[in-house]
Symmetry: C2
Subunit: 466 residues, 2 copies
Amino acid sequence: MNIHPAAENRHAPAALLDALAARFAERFSLNAAQREAHGRDESWHIPAAPDGVFYPECTEEVAEAVKLCRAHKTPIIAFGAGTSLEGQVAAPSGGISFDFSRMNRVLAVNAEDLDVRVGAGVTRKQLNEELRDKGLFFPVDPGANATLGGMAATRASGTNAVRYGTMRENVLSLKAVTAAGEVIETGGRARKSAAGYDMTHLLIGSEGTLGLITELSLKLYGVPEAMAAAVCAFADIEGAVASVIETIQCGLPVARIEILDALQVRACNAYSKLSLPEQPMLFLEFHGSAKSVEEQAAEFGEIASAHGGSGFDWAVKAEDRNRLWEARHNAYYAARALAPGKNGMVTDVCVPISQLARCIRETRADLDASSILAPLVGHVGDGNFHTIMLIDPDDAGEVAEAKRLHDRMVTRALALGGTSTGEHGIGSGKQAFLAEEHGDTLPLMRAVKQALDPENLLNPGKLAGI
Amino acid sequence: MNIHPAAENRHAPAALLDALAARFAERFSLNAAQREAHGRDESWHIPAAPDGVFYPECTEEVAEAVKLCRAHKTPIIAFGAGTSLEGQVAAPSGGISFDFSRMNRVLAVNAEDLDVRVGAGVTRKQLNEELRDKGLFFPVDPGANATLGGMAATRASGTNAVRYGTMRENVLSLKAVTAAGEVIETGGRARKSAAGYDMTHLLIGSEGTLGLITELSLKLYGVPEAMAAAVCAFADIEGAVASVIETIQCGLPVARIEILDALQVRACNAYSKLSLPEQPMLFLEFHGSAKSVEEQAAEFGEIASAHGGSGFDWAVKAEDRNRLWEARHNAYYAARALAPGKNGMVTDVCVPISQLARCIRETRADLDASSILAPLVGHVGDGNFHTIMLIDPDDAGEVAEAKRLHDRMVTRALALGGTSTGEHGIGSGKQAFLAEEHGDTLPLMRAVKQALDPENLLNPGKLAGI
């Protein structure tokens, strides 16, 4: 197991560990297994355990513990479900991991206003289970059962974003604790406001470096009258992508439109016991009235046929839909199961839809010419896709080759007007790309970080690299 | 004419005025009438003329002039069309007004990606005229023919926001000049990104206090196959509001749903030569397929009937729609024409939709009990409404009474979970309310301002009050 080189060099002072233990008893842990579990996410990045793990139960406790950490100049790392993919939760400079799993209550459902208030540790699946009998749902769905606090902190997205937007579009307000241990509320429950700087969006995507999110007000949506899932196989990936582009450009309001290349389909068949044809495929979902869903499916069917799509079939039964999306959500785990013992270097570019075909074609060609096994999958309705490069992190040759492919992929996406990360964030894994993409705004980002966290205690070293 | 008390006390150094004149010739003006015109917006707030007006033609010129101003520690005030409503463009500490009217080119229409690149001085009407033959449109519509740069700077909104969102949801990226005179681009053309702090949203709504917006990438939408406008009169304002709430809560995707109280209808009839019944009314617009528009109109008709709506009628002809919306857009001017010689103190609260009926009812009762004439109008689908209090700014009694009513209205909106401004912003007019609404985040806002504009040269004194 790799250990981050800096992790051994810095430890929280014993006085802080003693103070946290005295104040929070069993909710502050120095247990090695817990520390180790909190220093790693689901990525290939080198883990680094924090010095201790704190399980707050309310915002006031978070504020109190932040003040203690601050008094001892000790780093503070927010931890949701540990499902991040760019090393966001690792503690390379040591510090205290704040695990929000006990702040997991749905605090208020305002059905009339289509909004909800939750603790940061509520997961997206938990929220949707609690909303089920109210005919409402929260759409943002990154696949993993992440916490909503973590999803806001990484500006998460996923399969429904093409229709409902990402966390950027679906957070009304955040309660957070600042680096000084002050409690703030960034917005209100009004659907719009022009009152001052947009501190809500400043915290969304800040990856725990500007404040600790403790509660969220989120937008909700009525469960559509009808939903239908569909799969469609294509002779080649170009036909699948062309169908996506045409679907988006003609304004068809698909709720989900996901690509899986042949290798990813093979992985899903094996992992989720499906028997899909091992060809490039699109997974779709349509939401609306029964009639509208039927119309959308028919319209998509025509588009797909014109691009060589075959076996187009759609399922309205909830169990069939769920089986399909469960398989899609497990795509990452399925990909990793293709090469047991290896890790997955996950990439995440997003380009304007007009550039998607070229970006995917050139990326797939790069991968095919390499020795690395790498399924391709993505939320292509947004122009967003991933490859999962299966590598042994201890094999310097494989790591170098994956990095080379990754560099080429990001450089290509940026040249096409896209971004180095559609939804996974920067963490420690994409800092060089952040500098490449936003070199001109990076000094401002660092100025904002310096202004809000002058002692650099909040997830230090991540995102803007301070 | 009132002159802001501070305006006489500070002037830009002659050396700066000379340098700007030498460099930009006739595009830098010291003309008194131009200065005076650039120190006022459409509000009742006390105007304050800048020391000079600069008309840049490109971003590089903006950067150059910012560096000159900075060298002379002179304030810089961005000016779009001067249609702001909270004193945003006044120069109470003197300085140079940067008028973006010459940066008025549509730079690139990317129809395939449904986005457009514009200079900050392009107005919303100009953009939509240039898009007309492409079957695309930009939806954000604050009524006034504001510039898109100004609309982004004030986080503008308006009649279409209930369906298409505000500037917050419709800007993909901004080119801006920082206080240091550096040129930045805050985003890209990808539909989503998780790359670093959200500098785009930090600039949206910052009212020229964090940077000068020079270009924008905006989302576009396909012109709907069919559009229909409708009007519906109600016996009382409660019935109109109840219809709005039910329309939103049942998910009917209205494109516009606007309230006008009886007094505002009287004003519009007189100003726009209409003959609407002088009762509370809703103005609506439906977008979609011909069939969907028909269904939406029918569904709304049922809701309205149940709440005492009458005379519900809908118009699909473009000329009839335009006449109606022209009248709605001129509501502010129509209101002011009710009391020639008076000015309008415009209010702008926004509450969760479940609180809208109570907020409007109590506000209208307050106004009815006062001597001040004040029509009520609003984008009620968002929970956002305005009163236009017709006062003589030189009559201390009227000003005091209007302020009392305004205070009560904002306090009420905040108590109901709303905001002190849905779309007009803070400027100099709402600073006390910003402190009331966001007292906890105000220190962070000020820290951000200090970090990005350490010498306090960008629209000083506005928004966060530094």
